[in-house]
Symmetry: C2
């Protein structure tokens, strides 16, 4: 390990990554209260002191896990988003929504979301991080996607408001079912496509000019 | 206390009710893991043995709390629901949705929902109880409400599917924001009415014949 700089570690540090990986597993498996730093240290093959040197506290480590998992999922949804071009608007919106819904309903993200919601009383800041990097980011990206569509006369409405309606038309039923009924309630491919097609139909019935 | 019957208690029993009230407070305040039967006994002024006589286990008591709180909220939404008659459909749907949204976003119910979601991994059955008595009951009641409206030619679509879309158009954005951003994110009256009005407009754009 390079020890020459002012900080004894970097984010790319192997130990740092090993701690993050172990912490993700332990938090998702045992919940916040059920997690202790000894277990994370032993699973990542470092000393407990090293865990504290890297993250300072259990809470800071939890914030890191929430931020990195949510951010990575958002990157997968939003990076390299295709442009509509001369394509069909309905098909374009469907393809976007199917990808978004598949990523957001992956079991690890559902477990993270349940865990964070369960801790809102104790850690309100943490759920804000998840909200901002999850739904709020999705709504912001959709807003940016809808602005040019409105300028072209393909949609009629306030882009930010349309973005919020679109997001929840696509997400609400499957996400809320999965929150409570477990991962088995996540729709399989055919059901997911039917659900998205109807969500897009409703959206366009309300917001196509 | 009447001790003559086969069971030493009844649901109407004062002790029983005192235990339920204390348990509701303690679970909502401390979460499932943070709750112990000693505290519930001392808050309800009975012995720990009496708590176990009435409920058998901490888990059974938690199920009772979830079922009774969710059931009572559902009763308030659905009992004495007015008929549309010759009234205006849009105004009728708005009035129903405003009442439903106000009840579902009451702070105690939001806390219960967060608590139950946080425990899905440990108690999947419990979240099913909440889902069935909460969203699923709402969707079933809406289905029954939409069937005659479809027969009268005021709505076009499968009643159960329309019910699910209506429910989540109304609930999704405020409920999911409140789940993560806390009770302060619940919309105040003006915002709630605007939100509901737009939800109903979108619904009718998609499902009015």
């Amino acid at each position: 390990m390079a020890e020459a700089g002012a900080r004894p570690w970097a984010r790319s540090d192997e130990k740092h990554q090993a701690i993050v990986r172990a912490a993700r597993e332990v938090f998702l498996d045992k919940g916040y209260l059920g997690t202790n730093m000894d277990l994370i240290a032993s699973r990542s093959g470092v000393s407990k002191q090293t865990v504290y040197t890297h993250f300072g506290s259990k809470e800071a480590l939890f914030v890191e896990i929430v931020g990195s998992m949510t951010g990575a999922a958002g990157d997968r949804v939003h990076h390299d988003r295709p442009e509509l071009g001369d394509g069909d608007l309905e098909a374009y919106l469907r393809a976007f929504a199917e990808r978004q819904l598949r990523i957001v309903t992956e079991p690890e993200l559902l477990r993270l979301r349940r865990l964070v919601i369960g801790e809102v009383g104790r850690f309100p800041e943490l759920a804000k991080v998840l909200y901002e990097r999850g739904p709020q980011r999705a709504i912001d990206e959709l807003t940016a996607m809808f602005e040019p569509l409105r300028e072209r006369g393909l949609l009629a409405g306030d882009p930010a408001a349309m973005a919020e309606w679109f997001n929840w038309l696509v997400m609400a039923a499957p996400l809320n079912r999965a929150m409570m009924l477990g991962d088995a309630a996540v729709p399989a491919d055919d059901d997911l496509r039917r659900h998205v097609a109807e969500a897009v139909r409703i959206f366009l019935a309300a917001f196509a000019p």
